[in-house]
Structure formats: C-alpha cells, structure tokens
Symmetry: C2
Subunit: 345 residues, 2 copies
C-alpha cells in the first residue's frame, strides 16, 4: 500500500496538521520540523495522490484561448480541438473561453490579449504574431500573474512561459532535405509559397528550408517567396502564376496553409507529377493530394497534441509546478502516401 499523509505523520513523529503545513508550504513550521517531515516523505517515498488532492480542492482552471479567424483548414482544425477540450472541461476541471481575432492583424491580437486579461483567467494560450504590441500585451498578462503559452507560432521576445508547437526551423530543414533528395539532381527552380512573413513559424520554416536545400541540392535556384496569407483563393492565383512564369519549375514548397488553392492550381496545370511538392498540415484536401501524387510529402503538426499540451502546461504553471520539457515537445510528423493514418485527421 502506498504511504499516505498519516504514515508521514507517524514516521516523522508529528501531527497531521504539521505534515499538511509542510506539504502545502503553509507558514508556521520550524526549520528542524520541516526537515524531519521532509526526511519522512523521502524515506517512505510518499507521492501526493493528485486525484484526492484535486477532489479536496475542487479546483477549476479558467483558461482563455485566442485563435485566428480565416478560411484555412488547419486553423479550423485547431479550433475544433479547442472545442473538444472544452467538451472535456467537466472532467478536466477547466473552463475554457475562446476568443477569435482576424488573422495576421497584430493590433487586433493585442486588443484580444487585453480583453483576455480582463477575464482574469489562470492562463492564456495564443497563436502569436511576432510584433512589438503583441509582446507588450503578453508581458502585461504575465505581470498580472497569468500564465501564457504560445500556440503553433511563437513569440521569442516575450516572457511567455512556454511554446506549444513544433520547431519550425527543423520543419523547414526537413522539408528542404526531402525536396533536395527527391529532386535528385533534377534541374529547374524551386518556388516557395508562404502565408505571411509576419508570423514567426513561417519565417523559421523558410530559413530552415533554404539552409537544407543549400546542403542537399547545392546550387539549386530558389525563387523568391510569395505570400498567400493562408487564403486558398489567393494561393491558387499565386501558384497558377508561378507555373505559368516558370515552365521548367522543378518543385514547390508550401510552408503555410491554403493548400486547397495549391492543389487546385497544380492539378489545373496538369504538371502535378513533374513538380515535386512538399507542403504542411494534413487535411482532407492535402491527404487526397498526397494519395493521388500531387503532393509528394507532407509535414504535419498534430493540433490535438498541441492543444492538450498547452492545457497541461497552463495547469502546471497555474499550480506553480515544473513541466517535463521533453514530454511537451511536439513532434514534426512526416507523411508519405504510405504512412497516412487511416482516419482523415
């Protein structure tokens, strides 16, 4: 049987109340006594029964999630995952409020962060935009004692507690190596389509891709980046233009969202088999394109993992506990047509 607080009290020769004071950092315990209790805890290998503790505290965690609006499937999927987390609120003792803001609009995001502060939550999760006013708003939250986790896109200049997302530099590098090796010495320029250079994750992916391409396919020409703002219609227009302007186009790296447009433009051109295409995020559209051969490789971040990780970290921070960094690292998933999960995720 695992030891309880009673066992500690007996072992240390103190009362239950004193054990409680030590365990919960309450004042009124002499250093000597505290040591005695801590030695008993150590000796018995006591671990607090979290379930019982939560039951006794009947604690709930009010959190705010700030997500961008927009038509792209990835962000909508993220919203779905947050909704799923909301549905688990009762059982997880969370109370989640969702705020929607226009995409790629730093001022609107900063305003939403202010609004979140007014709700006095225990923590905030936000898809960040890398802009000074956003940094200021995040730091204000932190100073108000509210935990902040950036989601999907990071804000390195701020005092945010944690980033729940993938290493986008590594993701870009991975895409670059795959592209370089899949091209295998083939000639022709490679195009890059981004969402916006305003968000950190897209900038990082671009840097990583360029570096890895330079290593795995030295001398290969990269066209200058075009920005599609994660909007399928805009992406379709841009890619159609690229295909028209560069008859010898060898590859396309789509590092943002809006893959529906990318796929439509490629398939309209009839050149989907000769253009090596690497894209991000597994959606029903990109999944179908991978199976049909229009897309050659897909990098993915699991939105569900990210949301659940963000909540775990926010909870831990709210309780003043450490998180195990390694456990909260979000993996970059690579999908070829052969290893797609069965359910369209």
């Amino acid at each position: 049987m695992r030891p309880t607080v009673h066992d500690i009290a007996a072992e240390a020769g103190v009362s239950l109340a004193t054990v409680d004071r030590v365990l919960n950092n309450r004042p009124g315990v002499r250093g000597v006594t505290r040591d005695k209790v801590e030695r008993a805890i150590e000796a018995l290998g006591y671990v607090r029964d979290v379930a019982a503790a939560n039951l006794a505290k009947s604690r709930t965690y009010p959190f705010v999630f700030i997500l961008p609006e927009g038509d792209n499937t990835f962000m909508r999927g993220l919203a779905v995952e947050v909704e799923a987390a909301r549905a688990r609120s009762a059982i997880e003792r969370t109370a989640i409020t969702v705020l929607s803001v226009p995409a790629f609009d730093p001022a609107a995001l900063a305003a939403a962060l202010e609004r979140a502060r007014g709700l006095a939550p225990a923590g905030v999760a936000v898809v960040a935009i890398d802009a000074p006013e956003v940094v200021t708003a995040v730091d204000a939250l932190r100073e108000a004692g509210i935990a902040v986790v950036t989601l999907v896109s990071d804000l390195p200049g701020s005092t945010r507690d944690h980033f729940a997302g993938v290493d986008n530099l590594a993701a870009g590098r991975t895409a670059g190596t795959l592209m370089g090796r899949f091209l295998g010495g083939r000639e022709g320029p490679v195009a890059i389509v981004a969402g916006s250079m305003l968000v950190r994750d897209h900038r990082d992916r671009l840097d990583g891709f360029s570096a890895a391409m330079a290593e795995s396919a030295p001398g290969h020409r990269l066209l200058s980046v075009v920005e599609g703002h994660d909007d399928p219609a805009e992406v379709e227009r841009l890619v159609a233009n690229l295909l028209a302007d560069h008859p010898g186009l060898a590859g396309i790296y789509s590092l943002g969202a809006g893959n529906r447009g990318l796929i439509a433009a490629l398939e309209a051109s009839g050149r989907q088999k000769e253009v090596c295409t690497v894209a991000h995020e597994l959606t029903p559209h990109s999944r179908a394109a991978l199976l049909s051969g229009t897309i050659d490789a897909l990098l993915n971040q699991d939105a569900g993992h990210e949301v659940r990780s963000a909540i775990r970290v926010l909870k831990a921070r709210a309780d003043g506990l450490q998180v195990i960094a390694a456990q909260e690292r979000i993996r970059i998933e690579i999908f070829l047509r052969d290893n797609l999960p069965v359910d369209p995720a």
Copy 2:
C-alpha cells in the same frame, strides 16, 4: 458547477442509493425507476468524477509484461519504459510484474504466458511471436478473463484484445518509398536485413518494403533477405559479407534491430555515403549514424507511447470500458538528420 450524484437523485426524485444502483449496474431497480434516473443523468449532463470514483474504490490493476531478453537497444529501451511505468505504479494504481523470456523462442514465450496466468493479473502485455503454441497460450489467458495486449509485434490469429504497435506493413512501405526516391534511378541491388521471419512485424515490414520499392523504383533488384536475429554482432558479420559480395550495392534496408552492427560494418567499409541506408528505431547509435550520414532515414516507433498505450487499453478492458481506437493508434515516426529530437531518446 458540474452535477453530482446528489443532483441526479433530486432531479429524478429518488434516493442516493437508487442512483448508485443505476450508475453501477447493481440489481434491485425497476425498469421505470432506472429510466427515470437515466433521464435525469441525461438532462443534467452528469459525468462520473473518475478521480473521486477511483479514490473511493482504491482500485489497483495488477498487470504482467512479457518482454524478450537480448542485447539490442530497442528492446532494452522498451524495458526501460516498462520500468518507468512501474515507477508510476503508485500514482497510476497499477502493479506491474515483468517477465523476461529468451528472444525468438515460441516455446519459452508460451511457458511465460502460462506462468503469467498463474499470477492472476487483470491484464497481460506481450511482445508476441507468431506461432501456434503462443496463440493457444494467449487464448487461454483470455478465457480466464484476463485482458491481453500484444506489444510491438502482433498475433493476428489470436483473441488478443488489442495491438499496441505500429502498422508494420505501412512502415515497410514507407521505407520502400523513401529508398526508391532517394536512389532516384541509381543502379545497383538493394539488400534487406531482418531480425527473424518468425515475428510478425518483420514479415510485414518486408512485404511492405518490397511492394513500395516495386512501385517507386520499378525493376530494381532486391537481394534475398538475411536474418541477423536482432544481434549486433551477427548483423555486423552479415552486412560485411553483403558489402564484400556486392561492390555495386546501392542500398540497405535494415528492418530489425542490431543497428550497431550495421553501422559498424558500413563505416568499416568506407562506403557509408554511397550506400543509401534506411533503418528502424532511434537509439543513440542510430541517431549518431543519422547525423553523420551513414544512415539516410530512420523509422521509429516510440516505445514509451506503446507502453503507456498498452496500459491504458488494459485498464479500460479491465473496467469493461471501450477504448477510442484512433487515440491508441501508434504513429510511425520518420527521422531525417534535420528533425531529430534534441534529447537522445
């Protein structure tokens, strides 16, 4: 505030005891009354507080894990993860016993399964060998009311409850596509090194690899499979022979364990850069080889995920609950040198 059993009793106009009888399927409730209570549960959206329930039950789950002995890093890593789960026993209310058996020995495995039955656990997790006597032993466990989960390697002919491992056919296909595309039309035969055709996972990987190679690099010659029994020393000997016998060797697919030997032989030959190598399982050795370029791509199954998933499934089965299949699907991870996790896992 979320509703409790008291709220249901009030809503349904019955006593607490009756609600308890309904919730826990105890006898002595009329159909009409049962309906009334169930309607109240529905109306209030009651969800049982699992933490409180477990606390009240002070339930523990005795489980047995059966793992193969042997010198290869993957299985040792699996054992470490099981040990880690054992360390969490107190907090997870499990009591885990580990049985070690000689690798690739169906008779010994069947005997261990018999022994496990004698321990009368709630569930058994086993790295299976695809043999009739093992099927018989697993089925005997199931008939004794003990849940069985196969781990890493499956046993499709048996009545096991669940398989906690990757889709090895898909893993083999993925390796085949990567190999085919990385070779990019280069000539020369491709060698395949397996552990043993006795275990299901190796057979599946081989089938998948052959099929995908035929598609992505049609007409490429595959040498016949050699078996290294997941033993580094034996694998080293075999690979050295392969390299000597085939000066034009273009690629090696190592679908089992014992990568230390593979790497040693490749590097001793000095041909590690010209031979495209795809292997399985991320270990400190394979990680270093991926970074140095000796290995070109690595497929991985996260042993920690598999062990934790196996425990979740066993618990659910012991409680007679459903598992969400999608949630327990173990992903095939693909690592290139660019997306390696920071910690040597």
